[in-house]
């Protein structure tokens, strides 16, 4: 990805000083990614919109403060968006969430066509890495990350012992480490 970490930090600094153009630049850079993530989690366009708006407002009004230890700026923004989306998801009952996941996939808007080449390459890299996981490992990761389920809830959902789910989760992440290390390093992340 051709994103300059320093530029992101500078934008964040200006956002904290009330520079609206800096907020707009951050939105232009990451709004699409955050919306895609939020929509995947909540499955509803209006709720996804609410999540993205809340994410940027939290960086604007100082309710969320950037912590470099949590990774680069886009990862920080995605963590805020994911937490907000999961909060919304968890506001509904567990059984309702399970019913919704078993139901039809919500209608999605068309995929944007002007996908930058680097984003396409990153997507291929992550998809390739995920294909290396077993079905059980991939499901454990997806239920944790996108459905916001705890390990205990995943075990209950899949009718598997809790220890099995914990092992699958750990093994999945460890299997992904070397596969995604080049991508993470190209994005300026920590070396695996």
């Amino acid at each position: 990805m051709n994103v300059e970490p320093v530029a992101d930090l500078e934008l964040l600094r200006r956002v904290r000083l009330g520079d609206e153009s800096a907020l707009e630049a951050l939105y232009a850079r990451y709004g699409g990614l955050l919306y895609t993530l939020a929509l995947r989690i909540v499955g509803d366009r209006e709720l996804a919109r609410e999540v993205v708006q809340d994410t940027f407002l939290r960086s604007w009004n100082g309710h969320e403060t950037y912590d470099a230890q949590r990774g680069r700026v886009p990862w920080w923004l995605m963590a805020i968006a994911r937490n907000r989306a999961i909060d919304l998801l968890r506001s509904r009952s567990h059984q309702q969430r399970l019913r919704e996941r078993a139901g039809p996939v919500p209608e999605m808007p068309p995929v944007i066509s002007d996908d930058p080449a680097d984003a396409v390459a990153a997507r291929r890299a992550v998809l390739h890495a995920l294909r290396a996981l077993s079905d059980g490992q991939r499901m454990a990761i997806e239920l944790a990350y996108y459905a916001g389920l705890t390990q205990t809830e995943i075990a209950h959902e899949l009718h598997e012992p809790l220890g099995t789910i914990k092992s699958r989760t750990r093994e999945a992440i460890e299997k992904l480490r070397p596969l995604l290390a080049p991508l993470i390093q190209s994005m300026g992340g920590p070396r695996a």
Partner: protein, 243 residues
């Protein structure tokens, strides 16, 4: 070398936000003091951060930026505390730091008090988050349902909040509970519809449709699914004052 004293077995689930609260706190406490596990966690977090890149990109609504800009103008950006305090000099600056310290102490006290309230309800990520950043607390007491109560924690942005409810009876599928804000000089505004579980409890994300200072009462009524445009039933829960 990572040994059994470390939390490496739980780091993956921790990075995914998938641990129960007690486990989460145990791991968080350890990584805060262990450079080895902290380093591994940074790797895992970066890895987890790449997962959304696998999603087929979806274009956000064309007017979303305009909505964000409008909302941002209604909620001006606040510079960091240290910048706001670094105005003036000498005794004036000291006075402002003392004032800041007093504010911080009051926030700690408020947090402790709210945490006590929150522990009466099921723990979860929402509770943890709100306990760190409380803004307004509204306690609704049973009117037609004396055994029922609810607490609303309004977020600091003044636009949203969470409500914890207990003691309300379960409803048939055609009925729903509805939370209303009754403004001092305007018709009732809906804030949420919800149902309760078999134990009569629920945790609900709400909208705050109007300023609490411009509101005379909050009530919960029972309505037909999917909710009413105005209250039709008697207040089951109500609040007329808050902090």
């Amino acid at each position: 070398m990572i040994d059994n004293e470390h939390v490496v077995d739980d780091l993956a689930a921790f990075a995914l936000g998938s641990l129960e609260l007690a486990e989460h706190e145990r791991v968080a406490a350890h990584v805060g003091t262990c450079a080895e596990c902290g380093s591994r966690l940074a790797e895992y977090r970066a890895l987890v951060g790449t997962l959304p890149l696998a999603l087929a990109p979806v274009a956000p609504p064309a007017d979303l930026w305009e909505s964000i800009r409008s909302a941002a103008r209604r909620a001006p950006s606040r510079p960091p505390v240290w910048k706001r305090l670094a105005v003036g000099g000498g005794a004036f600056r000291v006075t402002r730091w003392l004032a800041a310290a007093a504010v911080a102490a009051s926030i700690v006290t408020w947090n402790a008090r709210l945490q006590t309230e929150l522990t009466r309800y099921a723990q979860g990520p929402q509770v943890e988050k709100l306990a760190r950043r409380p803004a307004r607390l509204v306690i609704l007491k049973g009117a037609a349902q004396p055994q029922a109560s609810a607490r609303i924690f309004a977020a600091v942005d003044g636009q949203s909040g969470h409500m914890a409810i207990s003691g309300l009876p379960s409803l048939p599928a055609t009925r729903v509970y509805q939370l209303w804000f009754l403004p001092k000089a305007a018709p009732a505004l809906t804030a949420a519809t919800f149902t309760v579980d078999d134990d009569g409890r629920a945790w609900v994300v709400i909208r705050v449709p109007t300023d609490l200072d411009e509101t005379r009462s909050l009530i919960v009524t029972e309505e037909s699914v999917p909710g009413s445009a105005a209250p039709t039933g008697p207040p089951l829960l109500e609040a007329h004052e808050w902090r």
